[in-house]
Amino acid sequence: MRKAFQFPVANSGSASPGMVFRAKRGAIFWAKSVQSVLLVAIAVTMLGAVHSQYERVGGQLMCACGCGQMLLECNHLGCPDSPGMIRELHAQVASGASDKAILAWFATKYGATVLAAPIRGGFDDVAWIMPFGIFVAAIAGTFVIVWIWKRRQPASTGYPPAEIATNISPHEAALRDRIRRETEY
């Protein structure tokens, strides 16, 4: 039977100095690990922007000419929209408006199609929720299906079920054998 793990007690008369040292070292290790994780989390949350606001917001806008390209990537010669939009973006950034306000300004002027990703809330949120909802549902569904199948599985006979199935022809059995050989070394 496996012994339950016990922390060595520092002031116990039976604990050797080596055990006490190891216990302290372990505690310090875990404390430092937790500290590091917290620091990383705080750094990730708190660190400021490296990109300029122009690049950040420009990366969330589409060119309005219908080319389907991002505003800052649109390189159509004589594009009727992108040069003007880029000038407007510079002006908006210079005015000190927030990212959200700039995006809202563009959406009002050019319509919602100018936003590269839906951010208006309401039905737009469905665009984000659906893929992740399906993803989570698919994972959870698989677990549930496998769990149900596993519960329904008859007690093991010691033979693979495919081999005790009676409705498999000899030809088919031979074919399966060959496939088994092919897919295993």
Binding site: G66, G68, N75, L77, T113, A116, D124, T183
Partner: protein
Amino acid sequence: MQSHPMPEFGSFCLLLGLILSIYTLAAGALALWGSSANGLRLTGRPQALWNRLGETARRAGIATFICVALAAFALVWAAFTNDFSVEYIREHSNIALNPWYKFAALWSGQEGSLLLWALLLTGYGLVLRVRHRVDVRLTAFASTILAGIQVFFLLLLCVGAPPFSIAPGAVPADGNGLNVLLRYPEMVMHPPLLYLGYVGFSVPFAFALGALMMRYPGEKWIHITRRWTMVTWLFLTCGIFMGAHWAYSVLGWGGYWGWDPVENASLMPWLTGTAFLHSVMMQEKRGMMKNWNVWLIFSTFLLTILGTLLTRSGAVQSVHAFAQSDIGIWFYTFITIAFAVCLFTFFLQRDHLKSDNKLESLVSRESSFLFNNLILLVACFTVLWGTLFPVLSEYVQGDKTTLGAPFYNRVNLPIGLFLLFLTGIGPLLAWRSTSMRSLRRNFILPTVATLAAAIGLMISGIRPWSAGDDMESTFFSLVAFSLAAGVTTGIVEEFLRGARVVKAQTGKNLFASAVLLTRRNTRRYGGYIIHFGVVVIFIGIAGGAFNRSVQSEMSYGDQMNIGPYRLVCQSITQDSTPEYDTDYALLDVYRGNKFIKQLAPERRIYFPGTDHEQPATMVALHETARSDLYVVFDGRDPNTGKPEIRAQLHPLIAWIWIGVVIVVFGTAIALVPNLQRTAVRPEREEGVGATRPATPAVENDGVLVKARHA
């Protein structure tokens, strides 16, 4: 009245092809019904009569290919002879066009690309019908179903989008020429490869539907279609990546995948096709997932049609607008009929699709395949959702919502990484159930490699927490690189484990043993090579998180620094040719003080001064395995008249293309028949060999023969 012999000949061939396809469908279906038990009983006609009718249907199917090939020839002939009386040729060719691009005119427009589709479909049909002895009855079913698809496309070509329409009025002296973006060598290859992939999925679809209709016993139909599916998948993979490389090299925006609806349309069947290639192994091996597999291949086929519908009907906005028209209704009708046939057949025969086994454990190869399938389908759904959401939002809210690259990247990156993770763990799990001991043994090295890579990368500077706005992309890159290390270790471990066994058996060195191991089980080890190719592609994609871009006005002597490179402007030149005006810069590239090469980014305006003036970017590239230096002539500043040069550094992007080559190599290996051992030599069987010491390698080679599988 002026006569147009070649266009008339082409139209006649298409009409004859349509009639032959209708005959193949009708006679084939009648022969299949007549030769069934019910048919024989009800008609009282002998089996031989129905067989003869079926044979005429098969031959008519073969003749259809000849008709469509002649029609395609007629269109190409019209392009080469500059027959601008044909509207299609006038729109997509001109006298000065390079002969290669004249040939490419066949698929550069709506009608021509549909003709190419029909040609490839009948070509696949030809191979299927010629090789009918593999399984005569199943092939007859597949041939009849394929004929149904042929009827649709030929009807479309004869009525909805005829490629040989004669333009009204006087014949112009010259045509409009090919879209300038398509004048690129890869564009000669990209559409046919993509179409070979698209159209190719019709064959496994036809076999699957046929097998279901005739209640085909066992899994042999999967075995018959395995190579079809793999070749088709390979074509689609090559087509997609060739398109990506074209977008990268030609469009000049610095990316290779813009999540355009047309790109999405090609990705969706690729995702479901990949899922199918994995899940059929479960059916082959354990008789499981029969319903799932049938619907996967149905979905793949329907998605190829849906993709065509989306991009040609004008339902969604696309940069590939050259192929839009009002033929959407044709595709809506066809997709509805095809779906109805699939659904009806499935409900009629669903009792035939009962699984022989069920999943026994969550920690098994089967469940990893199941997860892999689900994730691929979720990715496919996401792409479909993103493509259709603008239409849906317009319906619900009254205005269109755009889903651009930021949406797809945010949603698909976690899904892609999860797939990469599954790529790593799947092959390390055993069929049915994996013991804890086996888990420990198989996973310890990949896990250590993953963690070591993550720590090493963080030490070397890939730290999401200090990447600011790039935190998300840096984090995903870190995860991708770490997983890539783990998956690669797992693959190498699998090769080594098998190679050691072979080495012990044969006495060959480890490398020779690994080669022999691969040749003995090409499917399994070819698959691992494909997985490795996918890992390399992911490395290339992950490098995108560290892209850099600099843009500035440049004139003679000006310098620009990006990454380790220094660009020095040597000259700015303007020139004119009969076809285009050009503006280009000559830039010397230095790394430190060492001269590397001269780049010449260029901006062209084709047909200047005409009403169809078209700009084109000629990107200048310096490609290395470490990073690409990508330089674009962005135009001239309207105020200063100075040229604007944009330089970008794309780390690791070359690995995407290298990864594709590895995938192609792996697929080619998986397609090669296995080397199999012959029966063990008698003296060995009797134990004589067992008493020998190490057997010489040469002698061992003698016990191998090439065996062809069905």
